[in-house]
C-alpha cells in the first residue's frame, strides 16, 4: 500500500479565481487613482466571489464509491454509473471528470444527475471498430457553485473493462476442436453417435433438442435437465496473433491489432464458456505465450494479455513463430491465426505452421475499411486506389487459401463469414 498523497483533499484556487483576484486588485488601484467609487463597486463582487467560495467548502466524507457498468451492442458504448459516499455525506457540488480511452469516441455529452444522496451518470461513447479497453476511474472534485475553488476527493472502485466484438463470435464454439491431451483415465468410446460421448447432466436450454432431454433425471430433479456431450465441449484451441509491423504504417497496424485482439478475446471467451482449453501466442519478434488452460482465471489472463498486446517495433521471421510454438503447445492443436495478411511475409507463416504440425485457419481483419476512413474527403483517385487495394487483397487471400482456409473479416461488426465457415463441413470447404 502506498503512502497517502499529502496534497489529496487540499483546497486550491482555479486559474479563473486568480484572474478574478487580479482584476479586483487592478480595479481597486484604478479606483484610488481616479478617485471613483464605480471601479471599486465593480471590484467588490470579483474579490468576494473567490473568498466566499473558499470558505464555503463543506466537510466531505473520506471517500466516494463508484459502481458502474456498460451497455450497448456493436459499436455503441453506454456507461451507467453511480457515485455515492462510503459514509454519510453529500454529493452536492461534486464534479466528475471521465477519461475516455482510445479508440472510443464521444457521441453525446455526459449526463450527470443528482439522485438523492448519490450522483448518477450516463456516458455516451462509441467504438469505431472492435476493441478491448479499460476505462479508468473518474477523477472527482468538489467545486463551489461559481467554479472558482476545487478540492479533489478520493474515489474507490474498479476500472471498467469494455469488450466490443461481433456477436457471431458467441456461436463460434460450435466448431469441433481437437483434444491433444486426453484426461487422466479417459477412455474414448469407439463409436460415437451424432451428439458425441456423454459428459454430464445440465439444465435444459432453449437451444437443446428433445433428444437431449434426460427425462429420468428431469423427473427425479423436478426440473428439466439435458445431457451434455463431449463433442460439444471438448478440445483445445490455440489463438495466434501476428503483431509484426507491416507496410501499412503504425497507425493502421495499431487499429488492426485492436480489431484482432478483440476478435481473439471473443473467440477465447466463447470456447472457454464451453470449458474448452484455450491458449494464446502473441508474435512480434519473439513469441509471448499463455499456455492452454480453461476457466475464469484463464479468461482473465487472456484478457490482460490481449489488452496489453501492441504491434512490435521489429518483425521476427515467419519460421520462428512456428518453431517457438512447438515449445509451448502440443502439435495438432486447432490453431486460429489472426493476421491482416497485409504483406507477403505474413502469408509465409502458414506453410511453416502446417509443417510444424499446427492445422491452422486464418481469421483476417481487412485493412481496406480502415484505409478508406483515413481520408476526410475521398477524391476520385482515392476511390480508384481503394479498388486496386481490394483487388490486391483478394489476390493475396486467394494465395493464402492454398495453405490454409482464410476467413476474411471486412465488416468489423459482423463475423457471419466465420459462423458459416464453422457450420460447413471440412470436406465441402476444401472443395470450394
Amino acid at each position: 500500500m502506498s503512502a497517502p498523497d499529502p496534497t489529496q483533499g487540499a483546497l486550491r484556487f482555479r486559474p479563473r479565481a486568480v484572474l478574478m483576484f487580479a482584476a479586483a486588485g487592478v480595479l481597486a488601484v484604478v479606483a484610488l487613482a481616479v478617485h471613483s467609487s464605480v471601479s471599486l463597486l465593480l471590484a467588490v463582487p470579483l474579490l468576494l466571489g473567490p473568498a466566499a467560495a473558499a470558505t464555503s467548502s463543506p466537510r466531505l466524507p473520506p471517500s466516494y464509491r463508484v459502481s458502474w457498468s456498460s451497455e450497448g451492442s456493436r459499436g455503441a458504448v453506454e456507461i451507467l454509473g453511480r457515485l455515492e459516499p462510503t459514509e454519510g455525506g453529500s454529493v452536492h457540488g461534486l464534479v466528475p471528470t471521465f477519461y475516455r480511452p482510445e479508440p472510443l469516441v464521444d457521441e453525446a455529452a455526459p449526463e450527470v444527475r443528482l439522485d438523492g444522496e448519490a450522483l448518477t451518470f450516463r456516458l455516451h461513447w462509441s467504438a469505431p471498430y472492435p476493441c478491448l479497453v479499460s476505462v479508468s476511474l473518474p477523477r472527482v472534485q468538489w467545486r463551489d457553485p461559481l467554479g472558482l475553488v476545487e478540492r479533489p476527493v478520493t474515489v474507490e472502485g474498479q476500472a471498467l473493462r469494455l469488450q466490443r466484438f461481433p456477436p457471431e463470435l458467441a456461436r463460434a464454439s460450435r466448431a469441433p476442436l481437437r483434444r491433444t491431451t486426453p484426461l487422466p483415465g479417459e477412455v474414448r468410446a469407439r463409436q460415437l453417435g451424432g451428439a458425441g460421448e456423454f459428459f454430464a447432466i445440465r439444465p435444459l436450454t432453449a437451444s437443446d433438442t428433445r433428444r437431449q432431454v434426460n427425462w429420468r433425471a428431469s423427473a427425479r430433479a423436478g426440473r428439466m435437465l439435458a445431457n451434455d456431450y463431449r463433442v460439444e465441449r471438448t478440445g483445445d484451441l490455440l489463438i495466434v496473433l501476428d503483431l509484426r509491423p507491416t507496410s501499412l504504417g503504425p497507425e493502421i497496424d495499431a487499429r488492426l491489432a485492436s480489431v484482432a485482439a478483440a476478435g481473439a478475446y471473443g473467440l477465447a471467451q466463447s470456447f472457454l464458456e464451453q470449458k474448452a482449453r484455450v491458449g494464446l501466442a502473441l508474435y512480434t519478434d519473439f513469441v509471448e505465450s499463455i499456455p492452454l488452460g480453461s476457466g475464469r482465471r484463464q479468461r482473465f489472463r487472456l484478457l490482460r494479455a490481449l489488452q496489453a498486446a501492441r504491434v512490435g517495433d521489429t518483425a521476427g521471421p515467419s519460421e520462428r513463430l512456428a518453431v517457438s510454438l512447438r515449445r509451448y503447445f502440443p502439435p495438432g492443436v486447432t490453431t486460429v491465426l489472426l493476421s491482416a495478411l497485409a504483406d507477403e511475409e505474413s502469408t509465409l507463416v502458414l506453410p511453416h505452421l502446417r509443417r510444424r504440425g499446427f492445422p491452422a485457419f486464418v481469421l483476417s481483419p481487412s485493412p481496406v475499411p480502415l484505409l478508406g476512413r483515413l481520408g476526410s474527403r475521398p477524391t476520385e483517385d482515392d476511390a480508384r486506389a481503394l479498388r486496386l487495394l481490394r483487388l490486391v487483397r483478394r489476390r493475396r487471400i486467394a494465395e493464402a487459401w492454398s495453405e490454409a482456409a482464410v476467413v476474411e473479416w471486412d465488416d468489423y461488426w459482423s463475423l457471419a463469414s466465420l459462423a458459416s465457415f464453422f457450420a460447413r463441413p471440412a470436406g465441402r470447404r476444401a472443395a470450394t
Binding site: 496534497t7 479586483a24 463597486l41 470579483l46 466566499a52
Partner: protein
C-alpha cells in the same frame, strides 16, 4: 445554434451567451448613465465580449480559464471613465456579479451539480454593504476611502481564511 458554429466554437452555448449578454448590456448601460460618449460606452463592452467569446470558444484549457480577461478590461475601462453616482455604482456592482456568473459558465464542463446563482449570495451581500456605505456617506471621497478599507479588510480575511489551503501540509517522515 447551428452544428457548424458549435463545432467551430464549442464555447458558444446558450448559458454562456446569456451571461455574456447580461454583462454587455449592463456595461453599456453603466457607460451611458455615467455620461460617457455612446461610441465608447457601446464599442468597448461589445468588442471585449466578442473577443472573449472567440477566445473561450476554443477548446483549450488556458482559453477557458483566462478567456474572460478582454471583457474584464473593457468593463473596467468603462467603469473607470464613468462619472460616479449611486445608480452607476449599483450598475457596476451588478455587472461584477454578472461577470462572476459568466466566469462560472464553462460550456465544455457540461457536468454541473449545483446552480452558479447559489454562489452569488456572499458577493451580493458584500455589494449591498458597500452600496449602503456609499449612500450613508454623502461625500464621494469618503465613500471611496471607506470602500477601500473594506476591500483591504476583505482581502485580509481571505488570506486568513485560506492560509491552510495556500500552505501545503507538512509531509510526515517516512520513518514514522
Amino acid at each position: 445554434m447551428t452544428p457548424t458554429l458549435e463545432r467551430l466554437f464549442p464555447g458558444l452555448d446558450s448559458r454562456s451567451l446569456r451571461a455574456a449578454a447580461i454583462v454587455t448590456t449592463l456595461a453599456v448601460l453603466m457607460g451611458v448613465v455615467g455620461g460617457e460618449p455612446l461610441a465608447l460606452a457601446a464599442f468597448a463592452p461589445i468588442a471585449g465580449t466578442a473577443v472573449t467569446l472567440a477566445i473561450r470558444g476554443r477548446p483549450l484549457a488556458g482559453a477557458r480559464e483566462y478567456g474572460l480577461a478582454p471583457a474584464l478590461v473593457a468593463v473596467g475601462l468603462v467603469a473607470a471613465l464613468a462619472a460616479p453616482s449611486l445608480l452607476v455604482g449599483l450598475i457596476a456592482g451588478v455587472t461584477g456579479l454578472g461577470v462572476l456568473l459568466w466566469n462560472a459558465e464553462t460550456p465544455s464542463e457540461s457536468v454541473r451539480t449545483v446552480d452558479p446563482v447559489e454562489g452569488l449570495f456572499v458577493p451580493g451581500l458584500g455589494l449591498t454593504v458597500a452600496l449602503v456605505t456609499v449612500i450613508a456617506l454623502p461625500a464621494a471621497r469618503d465613500a471611496v476611502g471607506i470602500a477601500a478599507i473594506a476591500v483591504v479588510l476583505a482581502l485580509a480575511m481571505v488570506v486568513w481564511a485560506l492560509r491552510g489551503a495556500l500552505v501545503a501540509d507538512a509531509v510526515p517522515a517516512k520513518a514514522l
